[in-house]
Amino acid sequence: MSIKRWLGLWWACLAALALTACAPHSTSPSYDSIIVNFVDTVTPVQVSAMAEKYHLPLRLNSASHYAQSEELYQAPLGQVATHSGKVRQLLKALSQEALVEYAEPNYLYSAAFVPNDRLYNQQWNMQAIQMPPAWDITAGEGVTVAVIDTGVTQVSDLAETEFVKGYDFVDDDEVADDLQGHGTHVAGTIAQSTNNAFGVAGIAYRAKIMPVRVLDANGFGSLADVAEGIRYAADHGATVINMSLGSRSPAQLMQEAVTYAHSKGVTVIAAAGNENSGSVSYPGACEHVIGVSATGPDGSKAPYSNYGVGVDISAPGGAKTQEHPEWGILQQTINRRNPDEALFAYYQGTSMATPHVAGVAALIQSQGVTDPDQVERILKMSATPVENDKLNYFGSGRLNAHQAVLTTSQVQDDNPLLLWGKDFLRYLNDNGYLSPRFWLDGGAIALVPKLLMVIGGYVVLILIRWWLAPKRLGSPLPLAAGIVLGSSGLFVLQGLVVTGMPRWPLQLLGSSVPDMGSAFAQSAALNPLFASVLFPALAILLFLGHRHLRWAAIGLAMGMASHLLLSGTLFYEGVVWFGSGAWFGRSFLLLNGLFCLGLAYTATQATLQSRSTSLAVSQS
């Protein structure tokens, strides 16, 4: 696994270098002034001083209350605007000022484009991903998106959308019309005919749709057809593949097809699945696939959406309720009971979230960035991050179309070689190579508590040694193993994902004894059977007579003392079966932590005594 990862990494960095060096220049928005947002407490005198320092005629952006309360200023650039390098330096210097929240180019918009589609105002999802200002820059011209699904029917609100020839792997012919409704809805999110005074809008409405039918009229299909569909799309000019579908099985066949598409420069995006579970379905969880979880109108994880390892980004998928069907995603599709009839329908699912990301990927590609790793990187670095996302509901964050196209423009404007050095680190970081999140379970394992618990285990060891006079304790290796097992477990293992291998062995191996009771529960609450003095007590009873194993048992008690005392105080996450009252759970953990401490002390004392007795006996 690690060798493969590192090879992939080096390959990617070489490819990134080659591609950034020869990336074509493309559409990037123009600007002739900059925006400077000062901290809210700035005084007019400070603003004047700043204006003088940088020779900038700063003035309030507008007379609006917003501009005044936010201290939003703008300044024309004059001649400087023609040297983008100088502007960058200026913005950088300004951004580093303590009084400045941010400084950025004031891109010229002819008032953000608002499509005239009649039902556009019901598409909350387009606002959620900041679509209108992105449309000012691109609408996905020149990109082909393959929709591998139930087929796509060119309904009335797809009439102006360009289609390319696709294939029907269910019936083995070239007519890939939809008999179910799912694929047409998905295609609508990507490229519904937009600004046609009818129906709804699509994200990359100037992109071309390639319908690839692999699911039958009931939405079922075979892994083999999906794999063939992926290869077909990659061989016939699609550069984005949208797969709003999934299976529980991590088939090698599917991974190979995806790797093939990736090697041909195709960005592959797939749904995380709708079981509200911590295991993302395939191909969403495959390597080289951008896995997408779903959010509702309030931006929180949709109740049905899967999460965890494999989720790279989140996007609107809708969260309908009985009272609010409009909290779903509205597109035109066909009536499932009568495929000849078109209708506008609110759907919800990670399948609806996926085409949002595919659409934005098409926008990025239309700006000239085509390498799939780079497209993925831009999608991730432009996403709005979500704080404290312990279970990886959101991946890198919430999809943001506007930031994505702006980031693409900036990537294109920058000096490719300088960019590479800077972005390579960022690439490492965004892909998680630098962050513990890559090595750990989607951020589900908090690193700091784990480390503190191991350290705590050693503090217990040092204390006991100090109390019991400076004698050398026996068997350092079993002792250390016991401390680790009791305090943190080999938690790094939990983050490893080996395609094709079930997750539970690593999950179990990676857990400390107190965590084992809830290792599979996707919950941080502890199980009182495991998070108690029970196991170290049993271990000491069983192994006290053994020369080496007794030190492992004592180490276990030391490690668990640290774990339980810290869990009961700083890192309390609840105890299962104990209800919601925290005091009982905390007291239980603290009490058991103290028991473990006492146990470790007594057992060490007993062992040292028996050793000195036996030494005395043998000497006499």
Binding site: D149, T150, Q180, G181, H182, G183, H185, V214, L215, N218, G219, F220, G221, S222, L223, A224, D225, V226, S244, L245, G246, S247, R248, S249, A251, A271, G273, N274, E275, S281, Y304, N306, K320, T333, R336, A345, Y347, Q348, G349, T350, S351, M352
Partner: protein
């Protein structure tokens, strides 16, 4: 062939999908289900086979290919 016991439900996910919800709360997507089976709230025991090599649009859980079924509660 294994028997799966639970209740039939229509979930409003991905445009709608018929599932068997078993006691643990897990959903099985019903493949090749006869029309008589697809009634909201019907309590049934389904004889069938889970198909791991199948892909779905709904992605709500494992695919259960229905061979036969019996109702376990005649009231609904």
């Amino acid at each position: 062939m294994e028997a799966y016991v639970g209740q039939i439900e229509f979930l409003d996910i991905e445009g709608g999908v018929w599932v068997l919800t078993v006691d643990s709360g897990r959903h099985y997507a019903l493949f090749r289900a006869p029309k008589e089976l697809l009634k909201e709230g019907l309590k049934v025991s389904i004889k069938g086979q889970v198909k791991p090599d199948m892909v779905t649009a709904a992605q709500v859980g494992p695919v259960l290919e229905v061979s036969s079924f019996t109702t376990t509660d005649p009231s609904p």
